[in-house]
């Protein structure tokens, strides 16, 4: 449900809500590094986060790919759940392939198409693909991601590879990234 305004400014400018988001992230990062909630530390963190936001904000246009909507945190949580399951499956998959004496691999490079428009969205998708079973993002050109697939069924085309590799993540990422 994003406005046309947000769509036109996809990756060029960064809006005021995004500044607030960056500020919140920096402040949270500070709190995690400090590790306590003393007023003194929080005041210092608030000031430092403000300074960093103002200084670095204009260069952080990658964050403009975020959808700042009420439903976004919910989608983020669902994505995390999906991601963890995929990461654990990936490791069991690696363990199985490495330990089986016949080394069951059929590696090939395939291309995958993404519908995510923003740089941040594509980055997250490529990262997710790298950490999921049997796939490694090699290159990103436009809306095509080149993926090294360790067990590529013969004769896989772009559509099939997209369904198999990217669709699951994309569905979740689309909830909070453009």
């Amino acid at each position: 449900m994003h406005t046309s305004h947000a769509q036109h400014h996809d990756d060029e400018t960064i809006s005021l809500p995004h500044y607030f988001f960056i500020y919140a992230v920096l402040f949270l990062f500070w709190l995690l590094l400090v590790g306590n909630l003393r007023l003194q530390e929080m005041a210092a963190g608030a000031l430092v986060a403000l300074a960093v936001t103002l200084a670095a904000g204009p260069h952080l246009s990658i964050f403009s790919g975020l959808r700042l909507e009420a439903a976004a945190p919910f989608h983020l949580l669902r994505y995390f759940g999906y991601f963890w399951a995929a990461l654990i499956r990936a490791n069991l998959d690696v363990a199985r392939r490495v330990l089986s004496p016949s080394l069951p691999i059929r590696p090939a490079l395939v291309e995958v198409r993404t519908e995510l428009k923003s740089n941040l969205g594509r980055l997250m998708l490529a990262n997710s693909i790298t950490l999921t079973p049997g796939t490694l993002s090699v290159d990103l050109r436009g809306d095509h991601i080149l993926v090294h697939w360790i067990d590529c069924p013969p004769g896989t085309d772009l559509e099939a590879a997209t369904r198999e590799i990217a669709a699951g993540f994309e569905q979740h990422l689309r909830g909070f990234l453009k």
Binding site: N91, I105, R106, P107, A108, L109, V138, I150
Partner: protein
């Protein structure tokens, strides 16, 4: 509690060990990157969880470390493999099967 922490630390060690084994067993650089990335990421996270259970007062910093590992590990692997691909390294494929690798424009002259 101590036992749970030990289990996580052991799991981390097992995953890292499998990653190292993958480095030895896999036939080419792309498959090696695959096994090493996944195993090292989950292995490191399991270590962090184990450390977090042993020292609950460290959890904030461990969360920061986990987040940075999750963000930087795949980026590093992708960057290395991208450099290899652009440099023209072809992925190993099963002998006898067809190589369906899409080519860069500059590599179309492959026989």
């Amino acid at each position: 509690m101590r036992l749970v922490a030990d289990i996580f630390l052991l799991l981390g060690a097992v995953f890292c060990c499998l990653g190292a084994l993958g480095l030895v067993r896999m036939p080419d650089v792309y498959t090696r990157i695959q096994t090493a990335t996944k195993a090292a990421t989950l292995g490191a996270l399991a270590f962090l969880i184990g450390a977090g259970i042993l020292h609950p007062d460290w959890w904030t910093k461990l969360v920061v470390i986990a987040g940075l590992i999750l963000l930087t590990n795949p980026v590093g692997s992708s960057t290395i493999s991208r450099a290899l691909y652009i440099a023209g390294v072809r992925p190993w494929h099963v002998p006898g099967s067809d190589d369906c690798t899409p080519l860069l424009d500059s590599q179309q002259d492959k026989p």
